[in-house]
């Protein structure tokens, strides 16, 4: 409901008295947050204009005064004092008295106890970032060491493993990831075959599309794409799960019950990932080759039989096995870093969010670095 007849501002200011002598500011209406800026501007302007020797602020007509309005009055008082005017508040309504008493205190202008947090300089930030990165690397290495020890214990004491949890994580990280892994790999195979066919066709080398795709997918793209998808789907989920448990004191509860959180929370996730990621990789390989097959049959006038035969001829078992080992290592890193980021959570919901993001970013970084290391190692080993 809008009152059209309402004055532009909810307060009123009337000024009586003589310039340079005693001046009375009579305030009325609502002295509140909504029209504070206008009031402030008007009062300052009039103060400038009248230059009173003695300022009396009459509040008799004030209907409502909120804390921001009261603060404005206190500001006026301070300003009057600083210009060595005599200042007086009169006819303070009873309802406003409480608020003035509550606000009129010495610690209104206490400077911040902590100095303003400066924007730091680029060099400082670089240094800080490098230091944090080094510290982080140390923590991740320590964690991976502990994790490997826990895994070794789990493999030598299979009864200590919570196999029910392993199965549940296998379902979540593996089975439920199948649709997206299949779709992405299929499209990837399709695109790769199409793009390479455009080039190879110029040389009449269409027959090489199948081997090219097979080798690229099985050796590199399959494991990498699968690892990236698992990092996004499951690495983040692991970090969020453990992080939330940390916030809810559930990890503390486990520790006081005498259960090693590593064995309880990390080992099942890592084991599950190490089983399902290589399997997902095989799926990804198959779907990518299927994508290539579609291009081969529809675009290159190859028969499905020739395409598959060429694919099969170009792949040796020794191409497939190392790439599966590689994806097993990716799985260890993705799940490991997810758990580590989860265990690092301190504080509340925001920290869980940060940990989740960081789990994915760190996993992607580790995947690429490890993949390069594998590429070099395989090259020199002649695999």
């Amino acid at each position: 409901m809008k009152n059209i007849a309402a004055p532009p501002f909810s307060y009123s200011l009337k000024i009586t008295g003589d310039k340079g002598k005693e001046v009375v500011f009579s305030l009325g209406g609502r002295i509140a947050l909504e029209d504070l800026r206008a009031l402030n501007a008007e009062v300052r302007a009039r103060l400038q204009e009248m230059v009173p020797a003695r300022l009396i602020v009459d509040l008799a007509q004030v209907e409502y005064l909120d804390s921001a309005g009261a603060l404005e009055l206190l500001g006026l008082k301070r300003e009057a004092r600083s210009r060595s005017m005599d200042f007086q508040l009169v006819h303070l309504p009873e309802t406003a008295q409480g608020i003035m008493e509550l606000l009129d205190r010495d610690d209104l202008n206490t400077p911040p106890l902590i100095a303003d947090r400066d924007e730091s300089h680029l060099v400082e930030e670089l240094g800080e970032g490098a230091r944090r990165f080094a510290g982080d690397l140390g923590q991740v290495t320590t964690f991976l060491g502990e994790l490997l020890r826990a895994l070794a214990y789990a493999l030598t004491h299979p009864r200590s493993v919570r196999w029910g949890d392993v199965a549940s994580y296998m379902r979540r990280a593996g089975m439920e990831g199948l649709p997206i892994v299949s779709l992405i790999s299929f499209l990837l195979g399709l695109i790769l075959a199409f793009m390479s066919s455009l080039q190879l066709r110029q040389f009449g080398a269409n027959v090489y599309v199948a081997p090219l795709l097979a080798i690229a997918v099985v050796k590199e793209l399959g494991p990498i794409m699968t690892a990236i998808l698992v990092a996004g789907r499951s690495g983040s989920a692991f970090a969020a799960e453990i992080g939330t448990m940390k916030v809810n004191e559930e990890v503390d509860a486990l520790t006081t019950m005498g259960f090693d959180p590593m064995r309880f929370l990390a080992v099942p996730k890592v084991l599950a990932a190490m089983v399902v990621v290589p399997l997902l990789t095989i799926y990804a390989d198959i779907f990518a080759i299927a994508g290539g097959l579609v291009v081969g049959v529809l675009g290159l006038d190859l028969t499905a039989y020739t395409y598959l035969k060429d694919t099969q001829a170009s792949l040796k078992l020794m191409d497939i096995i190392p790439s599966l080992i590689k994806s097993g290592v990716f799985a260890l890193l993705i799940a490991g870093i997810g758990c580590q980021r989860g265990f690092m959570v301190r504080g509340g919901a925001e920290a869980v969010g940060t940990a989740t993001t960081s789990a994915v970013v760190a996993a992607l970084f580790l995947i690429i670095v490890t993949d390069s290391a594998f590429a070099l190692a395989f090259h020199y080993l002649g695999i």
């Binding site: 008082k77 200042f87 007086q88 508040l89 303070l92 008295q97 003035m100 008493e101 509550l102 009129d104 205190r105 010495d106 610690d107 939330t244 448990m245 809810n248 004191e249 559930e250 503390d252 509860a253 520790t255 006081t256 019950m257 005498g258 259960f259």
Partner: protein, 261 residues
């Protein structure tokens, strides 16, 4: 003392980096008593509790529980230590992915070789003990805050520990649920003789359950009082202690009315 104390804390000091939380805290907890650790915010009560349950390592001093030093590396002793204590965390700390029954069954599955049927019987009995009979198949998210704490208590008691620790049991509860929990604490203590160490700053809880209290203080960075709560409230020479019991803020607001108005 006819019984040796069940918990001995000697010259315990807690420090994070350069920040000393408290130092030289020494006290005993006797078998069967309810000891309340109290003090204002930030005085280190929860930190002290975390030292007592082995989550934090002391910077100096030692904690001995059931005759075993908490710093032990011996696997059997550690196991004995862990089985001898139960902890109710502030939020209940139930495992969210498990039903209440599964939460309670977990320690039994890990520490005993009971059959699933026997475990189920024990779980049902403990749930009934905290007035949650029939809630075994509920997930923690499906029950109220007070029920979560009671379920957390049931889980803490499932191995019949000799000491139960409580971190602010009434935090976040309405007065009725808090009182229910206090009654439960008292009845378990009376019925089972379980020793209890409770961290709280709720005066009502303190007077209702405590046999004895120790009080920590932030400015003193240590323990400033020990004894019967009513005795301390009425006769302590230390104003910090009487202020606490009489709810008098030590540092008043600096509000003052200037005579301008």
């Amino acid at each position: 003392m006819s019984h040796p104390p069940i918990i001995e804390v000697d010259n315990l000091t807690a420090r994070f980096g350069d920040n000393t939380i408290f130092q030289n805290v020494t006290f005993r907890v006797h078998r069967g008593e309810i000891l309340v650790i109290l003090g204002g915010s930030g005085c280190g009560k929860s930190t002290l509790l975390k030292h007592l349950i082995g989550l934090y390592q002391p910077a100096a001093g030692r904690v001995i529980l059931n005759g075993i030093d908490m710093r032990t590396d011996d696997a059997d002793e550690l196991r004995q230590l862990k089985m001898g204590i139960g902890v109710l965390f502030q939020s209940g700390a139930l495992f969210g992915s498990m039903t209440l029954a599964e939460n309670l069954a977990l320690p039994l599955q890990e520490y005993t070789d009971l059959t699933p049927e026997e475990i189920e019987d024990i779980v049902n009995m403990k749930l009934a003990l905290v007035n949650l009979a029939g809630y075994g198949n509920h997930l923690p998210e499906e029950i109220s805050g007070g029920m979560k704490k009671r379920a957390g208590l049931a889980r803490a008691m499932v191995l019949d520990p000799s000491v139960l620790f409580f971190d602010e049991p009434s935090a976040g509860l309405d007065p009725i649920s808090a009182a229910e929990l206090d009654i439960l604490i008292k009845s378990i203590n009376a019925g089972l003789g379980t020793t209890m160490v409770v961290v709280t700053h709720e005066l009502e809880s303190i007077f209702s359950i405590a046999h004895r209290v120790i009080m920590l203080d932030k400015s003193a960075k240590g323990m400033i009082a020990e004894g019967d709560p009513r005795e301390l409230r009425d006769h302590s020479p230390d104003p910090r202690v009487t202020d606490f019991f009489n709810r008098r803020p030590g540092l008043g607001r600096q509000a003052k009315g200037n005579g301008d108005g």
